[in-house]
Amino acid sequence: MSLMRLAYLAALSLVIAGLVHIGSLLGVPRVATAGPYERLGAVGADGRFAVLADEGDGANLLPFRDPAFVTAACRFDLAKGPVTVTAALPSTYGALSVHSRYGQPFYSLTDRAATDGGVEVTIYSKDDVAAAEIEDPAEGRPQLRIVSPTPTGFVLVRLFAAAASARPALRELAGKAACGPAVTRKLSS
């Protein structure tokens, strides 16, 4: 085999290797079986908030989760319509973050944005949001509308525990967060 030919084959395999790398990299989130969304499936967090364990093996459900926080998670599916999330965020530091199917957060709020200690966010799919803009009456409480880039995803409510003694109350508070079908506000008659 001549040297020219060897160089040609090496260059060819490098180009194909580049294509294989790009293709496989883009495919990783689709074939991953232990992404954050899949992991939260183990705690029954579909359509309701589940408070993640603070101690024992269950505390390791989401890797690198900050142990100083009490975390509640809810997986949503916009195929059945928009989802409204309400959560109480105490002023010691509370945050609500909405993540896409592949884990990237696309919206977050901290307790600084809370009114009367709580926040309410409605998540729409790309198709539903335009209709909601037209149909929903303007009255009622101010409502935050956000559009999810993926039809499914998850919401995390994270409350900072300044001391271990604050944990039980915060766990209860995090568990009270709701994540369910959007409430349609009717014009008062």
Partner: protein
Amino acid sequence: MRFALGALVALALAAVLGLGATWWTVANGLPVSGLTIGVWRAEPDAGTLGADPYEVAATARSGEAPLAYGDGLAFTALTDGGGRTLDASCDYELVGDLPPARLWTLAAFNSKGERFAKDAKDAKDLSLTSAGAVRMDDGPIRIALSSQARPGNWAPLEGEGRFVLRLSLYETTLGTPLERANPTGLLDVRRGACR
């Protein structure tokens, strides 16, 4: 015949190289991306929809739910200031100043992201936070990291062997593009006595 053999070798080489590059970058991240301050490294863009494919793939593989951009920024340290891997048989001292943040937390994990403990069943909260830390007048923050009790700010190490440190800053300006170009310092990690 020789052509077919050559093509097969080229394709096999391409598959090994391409998949190998994917495997390595997904596990370790791109060496050039992210925000590196001393031994600490963060990926501010992983917490946005603008995350690059490497960060998206890394999230899917590790299972971590990244902090949102406006929420906070999490830094990871794998080594001490001398470049040696962090090990629970040694004592460490963290000294330095922290950038403006509403809250910070420091916690040890194993390399898989599980809480650092002898046994996963014993995992509990051993983090040190700004709410519990003591700060001396006009001095830098000093944190002792040891498996044995220390005076002052002490972050206990309950596990054995190698660990990684996670320093999370909440509501900080550190991740903004302006700050990223010229970041302020973070804690130095100094190794003390080893047993």
